[in-house]
Amino acid sequence: MSLDLSVYADMLRALLPELVLTAWALVLLLVVAWRHHTVRDLRLAGWLTAAALLSTAGAVWWLWWNRAHVDGFSSMIAVDDFRFVSDWIFLGAALLTVLFSVRYLEREQLLAPEFYLLLVFATLGMMLMGGGEDLMVIFLGLELMSIGVYALAGLDRRSPRSAEAALKYFLLGAFASAFLLYGIALLYGATGTTNLSLVGVQVATLDLGHNGLLLAGIALLLVGFGFKVAAVPFHMWAPDVYDGSPTPVAGFMATAVKAAAFAALFRIVGEALAAAGAWREIVTALAIATMIAGNLVALAQRSLKRMLAYSSVAHAGYLLVAVATGSAPGSAAFLFYLVAYSLTTLAAFALLAAKGRGGESDVRIDDLAGLATQRPWLAFALAVCMLSLLGFPGTAGFIGKWYILIAAVGSGRGWLAALLVLTSVVSAGYYLPVIMAMYMKPAPSLESHAGVQFDGFGRLALAVSVAALLFFGVWPNRLLDLSKTGGASFQHAAAVSAVATPAPAPGP
């Protein structure tokens, strides 16, 4: 299916997934406005959200199945495999979050169906970020996502920690957005356009690689994205915010939100900045700092939630290695890694949510002692998650890490790959104690894990996540092919300059 985006009907087709989700969001808005008092209302909103996410994924699938692509040049929204695959990741992460949240919200007496509404809007923002072909679209998507997530962080109004988390996230997030916007402005100043491909064309044809305005713009953009993905040294907010937010929200932030920021970053560096080299050194430096600091600080954590928060910082470092390669295998590795990482992290946060009891930030690693004897399947699931985060063979996390390493070595950054594996060894120092506590330490009492409960859907989601982790760890071929085509699908500056005339460069 070839789409000409200057034709109205084709534009609607290209935007079909976003439109479907928006329609659902409006339906949900009305439902929630009238029915927001009881547990039944909450469940109703949950089911509607699940249906919304699934039908949107179906719309994405329809585009993918018909091999939708843009004929010529796309100015606002990309129609390529990278967008489809990243949309599926966002939608899947949101769906898992919904399934894990149903019981959590009831247990914590958070009878606010707005939770689901905010989740849907945030997901919509992510889809615009992953598919945005213009810096303004990406920025709008980012704001839509961020505002939803700021509110989600503060969902538990009775908890001062949740309020603190929301405020901290909001202030720092707004700060980061300002950086990003200023970076976009400078990029526009340097190239005279906000369209990614046209920026790429301008940078290549006008040889702007060393233009001061462009470099300053790139630096500000990277600072903004650094905040969003919690790269060191812009990570300070992450542990506090994850710690204070409701646990499923923390899982959502650690996976989907981070994924969206990375997807946008990949598209920007892949399409707009391919000819400008400066960002590579900055991203490499960020990756090094993030991997080292994230892993070392995670070692010192005793609280499971804070450990997972710092581990997500460390994983952002690994993903930055994929960004630094700036190659198609790097983007493909990112997509694969993201699937593995999202499944693992969401499942781990779900287990944490089930274990916690009103103020679950106090679940320490040692509190898991003896889980294996009392709840063998849960312990097995968490052990698989920890091994996948560690990148152990047999799990999807291993294949993901392998892919990033291939991309890094293939682009001549063997030393960066060596640093990645060395910091992974450090990470064994905090993932293994979880397994150790569960399997090798006795439970303090016979009832110590009786409170860990899952409803049917949470259990199903957990089982599916863990099974998928193991399956992709042994038989990754389908997912590899998908990420490979996704990673190679950016519209290249050279191809664009043939069909579109760039705007004239602004005067000095």
Binding site: L405, A417, V421, V425, G429, L432, Y439, M440, N477
Partner: protein, 496 residues
């Protein structure tokens, strides 16, 4: 027909059995594990006859696995790996039988993990695809980690994590080197593949990168062996592991390191590995291992720790034999790898049996027990003598071959290594005297039961192996020789 499927069957059967054991009732676990491992042994024994020494790599089987990256499931054996596979299938049933009384909690998980470990060990030795090799190399870490960490001694958590982190540190750097090789060879030939034969045929001179790659492979294998400064995980892991864990750790896992040198590090990077400076360093480290291991073993109050340090010394001989690079020394190294599995395995079994009787591993807790448990004392004596290398036992043949072979290329090293044999006699005979001879002065030792039938069933096969290899090693050496010769011929010219 008994042919290509056999290696795959050897890999798949323990996994299948592990699942069955996990699902079966607890009280059946050990019996199921024993029968499964005996079936595994029975599957592997015909290899002895079907193996054609002159045919090089054989019984190969290949299926595409992840074609996007040129990864295939490829397995095969040659004269280097054949005996390591047989040693594994030989030691596993004995380990299961030796654990019958030692393991009393969570039996199902223990035996299932032991069988998963079997798959990992055999997989390392038969893998002919670098991805598969790496996966197997890591996969066997997890069962061992649990075996030490759940069923180990008092200090088990520390020992387990140390074992895990040390091994992982080395193996992850090796992973980067594997990927480096993959990318380099792929760029050179246009065919990106992790296939061992493809990489070996096209690796060629790599320039300075070869030093980094060799360094990474060396670190991974040297930690596993362990070569002298990297050995500190070994005493902890061996002492804390339950008997079956110690036996397999010493008997099989350590050999993965020396096997890695023979299969990967030397053939891939002969110019670096046989560079005079590198050779000097490695020969020196091997000698330090032999002498230092022996001297430290001499002062150990703990019997298991003594055996652990004796492993450092024995593996030093293997390293020396490999780097001396003569036919005798390489064959000797291959034979010592097998011998060490048998003799040290037997020593760990005996240490475990003593522990079950007295709940102490300290040498000082015993004394004069030859009068109380004559059978156990006799077996311990024979096994100790074989570990020292007394003529007529297996230990002698292997170490003698290494010393002869080494004398031709590194005479000084051979002379120094001979001192190591004397040191071995000092620490083992000293321990033997303090455990079974001296006067029987401890009241608790007066009523120790002698070996049971089950324990005899564990020890007799090992004794048979000790005597057989000691008296008539020719059939084994014949099967090793063509592969050892091919190894030397492929490595030596490339080094110049």
């Amino acid at each position: 027909m008994y042919a290509h499927w056999v290696l795959t069957a050897l890999l798949a059967w323990p996994l299948f059995a592990a699942v069955v054991i996990w699902l079966a009732p607890e009280r059946l676990a050990k019996h199921l594990a024993l029968s499964a491992s005996l079936v595994e042994l029975a599957l592997s024994i015909p290899l002895w006859w079907t193996f054609v020494p002159a045919a090089g790599m054989q019984l190969t089987q290949m299926f595409p696995w992840i074609p996007a990256w040129g990864i295939a499931y490829t397995v095969g054996v040659d004269g280097i790996s054949l005996f390591l596979v047989l040693l594994t299938t030989f030691l596993v049933p004995l380990s299961v039988l030796g654990s019958y009384r030692y393991i009393t909690k969570r039996e199902r998980s223990f035996y299932a993990l032991l069988l998963v470990l079997t798959t990992g060990m055999i997989g390392v030795f038969v893998a002919l695809d670098l991805f598969l090799f790496y996966v197997m190399w890591e996969v066997m870490l997890i069962p061992m980690y649990f075996i030490i960490g759940v069923w180990g001694g008092d200090n088990r958590l520390y020992a387990a994590i140390k074992f895990f982190v040390y091994t992982m540190l080395g193996s992850l750097l090796m992973l980067v080197a594997i990927l480096g090789l993959y990318v380099t060879v792929g760029a050179r030939t246009g065919q990106y593949s992790f296939d061992y034969a493809h990489i070996l045929a096209n690796v060629g001179p790599l320039g300075p990168a070869a030093w980094w790659f060799f360094g990474a492979f060396f670190l991974a294998f040297a930690i596993k062996v362990p070569v002298f400064p990297f050995h500190t995980w070994l005493p902890d892991a061996h002492v804390e592991a339950p008997t079956a864990g110690s036996v397999l750790l010493a008997g099989v896992l350590l050999k993965m390191g020396t096997y890695g040198f023979l299969r990967f590090a030397l053939p891939f990077f002969p110019a670096v590995a046989l560079h005079p400076a590198v050779t000097t360093v490695i020969v020196a480290l091997s000698l330090i291992g032999i002498l230092y291991g022996g001297l430290v073993a001499m002062v150990q109050p703990d019997f298991k720790k003594l055996i652990a340090y004796s492993s450092v010394a024995h593996l030093g001989f293997v390293m020396l034999g490999i780097w001396a690079l003569t036919l005798q020394s390489v064959q000797g190294a291959l034979l010592v790898m097998i011998n060490h599995g048998i003799s040290t395995g037997a020593l760990f079994f005996l240490a475990g049996m003593l522990y079950e009787r007295r709940h102490s591993r300290l040498i000082a807790a015993f004394g004069g027990i030859a009068k109380v448990v004559p059978l156990l004392a006799a077996v311990l004596t024979i096994v100790s003598l074989s570990s020292i290398g007394l003529p007529g036992t297996n230990g002698f043949v292997g170490e003698f071959l290494i010393l002869i072979g080494t004398y031709q290329t590194h005479p000084v090293a051979a002379v120094l290594a001979t001192i190591g044999v004397i040191v071995a006699a000092m620490y083992l005979l000293g321990a033997l005297q303090r455990v079974i001879y001296n006067p029987l002065d401890k009241h608790e030792n007066e009523k120790l039961p002698d070996l049971s039938l089950r324990e005899l069933a564990v020890l007799v096969p090992l004794l048979v192996g000790i005597v057989w290899i000691g008296v008539y090693p020719k059939p084994i050496l014949d099967r090793m020789e063509p592969s050892a010769r091919a190894f030397i011929q492929s490595v030596r010219p490339a080094a110049r």
